[in-house]
């Protein structure tokens, strides 16, 4: 990364781009990654609720799982997941499994 010179910085060296930490992916932090088994998911939203990074996203649509039909589905954005495992710990149906990352 090349840093800007003193004359190129805005006054007060303020950060002008909101939410710019998105440039920094934190995927490399994790040793275990959460995998959602959609057939066991009952859409209680707890993983989405408690994720400290907001990496569990809610997809809208029609999802047919076995004999059941849901209007939402939860997926993990692995770019930012730090692998803390709160989602797997809170999941009431044990639908989230923490799988070791293989390099």
């Amino acid at each position: 990364m090349t840093l800007p010179g003193a004359s190129q910085l805005p006054i007060g060296a303020v950060v002008t781009e909101p939410g710019s930490t998105r440039r920094n992916t934190t995927a490399g932090w994790r040793a275990y990654k959460p995998v959602i088994h959609d057939d066991r998911c009952v859409r209680c939203q707890l993983c989405w609720l408690y994720c400290p990074e907001g990496t569990i996203v809610e997809l809208r649509g029609v999802f047919q799982i076995g004999g059941r039909k849901y209007d939402v589905k939860y997926e993990v954005v692995y770019d930012y997941c730090k692998g803390c495992g709160i989602c797997a710990n809170e999941c009431p149906t044990r639908a989230i499994e923490m799988v070791p990352e293989v390099v």
């Binding site: 909101p18 930490t21 920094n24 994790r30 400290p52 770019d79 809170e90």
Partner: protein, 312 residues
């Protein structure tokens, strides 16, 4: 309008990922929900602390709001100035952003200890500011030093455990009592484990005119010494054992919120041991020390029940 179910909660994320908070950070969950519920029309003044250090690694920021970082001791004073400026511009017809809320975000060091005078001044001058305290019970980002919020007997790097010392010597300061003594219109405690309750309190506190205060319980993985997937579990145990009661001070009335409203009866609370046992910072406790903590907790609940019955 209150949020009744999890489906009513806002979906838009206003706290960017990629910040450097620890995996499993309790304060990150708190910040995510505070920003979601506040919505985009807010100005944030952030005292030095974990959240400030980890969310603004120059030249990046995790914030999507207009944001200013100020020193430990003056976040509330800066927010007072912002609020006064917004008011003046509005009077002159030059404020076009509508109903903007000014919010302070500070940790327990910036609230209990260093920022207490500016918080008191802000409350006394009746600025229309929402003060949010995320309480992780020590100075975590500088390396786990004790603060006014650290509970008795807790291990920190400045209150070591050994033959001569048994962790922190003093009791935890009652910050809510200090805030309520300023006769603020609204103050509340919330926990990251009870998100619906937390979201409703952020909403109410943002809507009430005048100084409002929110005390959010946010467990810390490295400082409290528990596995990183247990953050929400620890926060939930704190509420269910009665260690951190959920209540709100609403225009002179104290109201206990579920599940703490059942906890006036001691038998409805889970044993305090369950909360202490999951954390490494309490590993050294003896039976007598746990009994002492339990006695103090009982007397705190008696104080709360008196306050609730006098004010109702």
């Amino acid at each position: 309008m209150r949020f009744k179910t999890l489906r009513d909660l806002p979906r838009e994320e206003l706290f960017a990922p990629g910040h450097r908070m620890c995996a499993g950070c309790g304060a990150a969950i708190a910040m995510r929900w505070v920003t979601k519920v506040l919505g985009p029309n807010a100005i944030v003044a952030n005292a030095t602390g974990c959240v400030e250090v980890t969310t603004t690694p120059y030249p990046e920021t995790a914030w999507m709001h207009p944001y200013i970082h100020v020193a430990f001791e003056n976040a509330a004073a800066v927010a007072s100035g912002i609020e006064a400026a917004v008011k003046a511009l509005r009077r002159k017809g030059r404020w076009t952003a509508g109903d903007t809320k000014v919010v302070v975000i500070a940790g327990d060091g910036g609230t209990y200890d260093i920022g207490l005078q500016s918080l008191s001044g802000m409350l006394e001058r009746r600025h229309d500011v929402l003060y949010i305290l995320y309480d992780n019970e020590a100075y975590m980002n500088t390396g786990i030093q004790r603060s006014g919020s650290t509970p008795k007997f807790a291990w920190t790097t400045t209150t070591p455990v050994g033959a001569a010392a048994r962790g922190k010597v003093q009791w935890k300061k009652d910050i809510m009592g200090i805030v309520m003594a300023h006769r603020v219109p609204y103050a509340a405690t919330a926990s990251i484990s009870h998100v619906l309750d937390l979201a409703n309190k952020v909403k109410t506190a943002a809507e009430v005119r005048g100084p409002t205060f929110l005390h959010i319980f946010a467990p810390c993985v490295p400082g409290w010494r528990y596995p990183e997937n247990k953050t929400v579990e620890v926060a939930r145990l704190a509420v269910e054992t009665g260690y951190f009661p959920l209540y709100e001070w609403d225009h002179g009335k104290l109201r206990l919120n579920p599940p703490s409203n059942n906890h006036l009866d001691k038998s409805k609370r889970r044993p305090l041991r369950e909360f202490l046992n999951v954390q490494g910072r309490f590993n050294h406790l003896t039976e007598e020390e746990v009994a002492e903590l339990e006695r103090e907790l009982d007397s705190y609940w008696q104080y709360l029940s008196k306050l609730a019955s006098i004010s109702s």
